[in-house]
Amino acid sequence: MKKKRSMVHYSVLLMLALCLGLTACGDKDEPASSQTSGGDSAASGDTIKVGILHSLSGTMSISEVSVKDSEMMAIDEINAKGGVLGKKLVPVVEDGASDWPTFAEKARKLLSEDKVATVFGGWTSASRKAMLPVFEELNGLLWYPVQYEGLEQSPNIFYTGATTNQQIVPAVSWLLENRGKKFYLLGSDYVFPRTANKIIKEQLKAEGGELVGEEYTPLGHTDYSTIITKIKEAKPDVVFNTLNGDSNVAFFKQLKDAGITSADLTTLSVSVAEEEIRGIGADVLAGHLAAWNYYQTTDTPANKTFVENYKKKYGDDRVTADPIEAGYDAVYLWAAAVEKAGSTDVDKVKEAAKGLEWDAPEGKVKIDGDTQHLYKTVRIGEVEPSGQFKELWNSGEPVKPDPYLKSFTWAASLSSGN
């Protein structure tokens, strides 16, 4: 009996040793491969390493994996056309695991161990804020693909998603003109909704709107019956929805169960895109509004091929959405800047990126040299029963990014000191 037990233990020890051995070997491979690509610079040799850092596990993975997919697709496309500066791009993928310190750790690893030329990554503001000091310290380059709350402008980050004046502010103006003055603000309890609502409240004051209610629920909250009752009592013309993630499913289902349809009440969401519609159900969301810079239905030649290729690569049931497209843009914009600079050196690439234009799937985009944000076209869309968006309004031309809302007099108190 005793002998048998110890046999089991020996075999387990052996397994453990094997596991450790495997990881140790992998470890040794790493410096070797970075040596072939040339020690100091990511660009020497015949490959260029680029980092991809999204949450592949944890709560955020549902959103971020699709962005990783589109960035990988862009890299493949660029490689198929001969790469950048005649060199193939080699992606180094890391998992941020929906944990902000992990994002900081992995960013440091990509920059100082793998010596990547640039990093595409992040989704939540918290993950970006965690990575920001690392990129500034090591003078790295981060391309951040998601709309966010603004009030930031790091010299080491390019923001390819919308800032507030390219999504929230025009949406509020449009709603005031077309849907009514009484606003109810509903959001998840974290930085983006709270900051967005602060901006909206200032804007309502300035543009003659009226605030009839403001509620925050924790991330992942699923019981909205009380809030729906409050909404019924407050009788708003518009519910401005900054809920994130699963809460949207619960909110919209319960809204429908309460007998409120898009005909009775306008809701405009800023975090519900094609991917989320798949999860919530198009029948539940039909008629509700969203504000973005890109929809799968956006009618540009570039978008036609983008959607086609994405579906071909990842399956017919997949959809494209704003952050997915912004991630794709980021790779192409970086590649164009590197070609223009003739180097992957961060400072040279930043200089070359100024004023760079590109025909993105969302239409023409241009990098604003001062803020390192993109000029983007604002689009308000209505969910169709098919689960796609019908565009109701767009800004006509790309809007200049204004992360600190300096061009809006009512926003003076928000951007003070910057």
């Binding site: 592949l56 965690a130 991330l219």
Partner: protein, 361 residues
């Protein structure tokens, strides 16, 4: 009969510890900046693990709320670093949240000494208070564990809700200087690494001392039979409270050191998952042995970091499999493996088997 303290095994253990300490202090010689930074972070985790082991491994109280004590320490240091970085102005997130003046409770954190003391005392006192209301009322076992989980939820909700004062979900980040030295300077980082290693060694020695003392004996007696201890005439609550407070203070210390290396503290670091992870380090390393707790924290995190870099899509499965293997086949953790190996060696060389069961390994 007086036992000789200098047995061969003891000398070898001491030599082992001395060698390990030397290796720790020499780490900047053979590790790259990035790896050194990682190791520093793991050493900070090891300090939490020490505290957890004291309370769980030796006293038999399972706390799933150490993330809170860790986080409180982290926030105390973060407040100092943020004020230092803001250079006399209000921290940026307060401005966005509409505050016009620095809240009064932030003011004292302009002093590093105050922040450091607060980072140890606040978690320690909170733990003492929690221990006072629970252990005195003989709340223990799973009920105590559930209370610690509740503490986690209260703390995270509070921190997220009070965005203007705490930075909300983003937490507090963007530091530049500590006591006048640039925090991103490699020399400062090396110094901070040494400070962390020194704190770990001091904490380790203190814990070993505590465990070997009369106090430690009572703790183990409480673990093995609380009522018996009470009947003998001790007041177990007093011992439990003290152990819990020391454990909380160590977690706070670890939190302070952690953010010096990581550069961010956010409510997610206080959450349920990190709190449970901390307990796992101790379980994997081997509870009831101090070196096990340290090894567990360092090896687990090193493994996590390496494996996730190698297999970004599948690393969770690999980690899960390793967990299962350790829990099923090494119930005493990695430290248990050592005593098993010694036992095998002794069996082979024909030594007395009784000595192997010596719990002081």
């Amino acid at each position: 009969m007086k036992s000789n303290p200098w047995t061969a095994a003891r000398i070898w253990t001491l030599i082992g510890y001395a060698a390990a300490s030397a290796a720790l202090f020499a780490a900047p010689l053979y590790l790259s900046d990035f790896r050194l930074n990682l190791l520093a972070k793991f050493l900070a985790f090891a300090i939490v693990a020490l505290g957890l082991d004291l309370i769980w491994g030796y006293t038999g109280i399972l706390s799933l709320g150490h993330g809170v004590f860790f986080g409180l320490g982290g926030y105390a240091m973060a407040m100092y670093l943020k004020l230092e970085a803001s250079g006399g102005r209000m921290p940026d997130f307060m401005e966005w949240s509409g505050l016009t003046a620095l809240p009064a409770f932030w003011k004292p954190f302009e002093s590093l000494g105050f922040a450091f003391a607060a980072g140890i005392l606040i978690p320690g006192l909170l733990a003492l208070f929690l221990g006072y209301v629970t252990f005195r009322n003989r709340i223990r076992g799973v009920y105590f564990t559930i209370l610690t989980q509740a503490l986690v939820i209260i703390a995270t909700t509070l921190l997220i809700g009070q965005q203007a004062y705490t930075g909300g979900t983003n937490g507090v980040t963007g530091y530049s200087k500590i006591a006048g030295y640039s925090i991103s300077n490699p020399d400062t980082k090396q110094m901070l690494y040494w400070i962390t290693a020194a704190f770990l060694i001091v904490a380790f020695i203190v814990c070993r001392f505590l465990v070997a003392s009369r106090f430690g004996k009572v703790l183990r007696a409480i673990r093995d039979g609380e009522n018996r201890v009470r009947f003998i005439g001790y007041n177990p609550a007093l011992y439990q409270m003290t152990a819990f407070a020391i454990s909380g203070a160590l977690a706070g210390l670890a939190g302070m050191l952690f953010i010096l290396h990581v550069g961010i503290i956010s409510p997610s670091m206080l959450g349920i998952v990190p709190s449970i992870e901390m307990v796992l380090w101790v379980a994997i390393g081997g509870r009831g042995t101090m070196i096990g707790a340290v090894l567990g924290a360092v090896l687990m995190n090193w493994g996590k970091s390496e494996i996730s870099a190698q297999y970004p899509d599948a690393w969770l499965f690999v980690m899960g499999a390793l967990f299962v293997v350790v829990v099923v086949f090494l119930p005493n953790g990695v430290a248990g493996l050592f005593s098993r190996l010694t036992s095998i060696k002794r069996r082979v060389t024909g030594h007395d088997q009784e000595a192997v069961r010596n719990p002081a390994v």
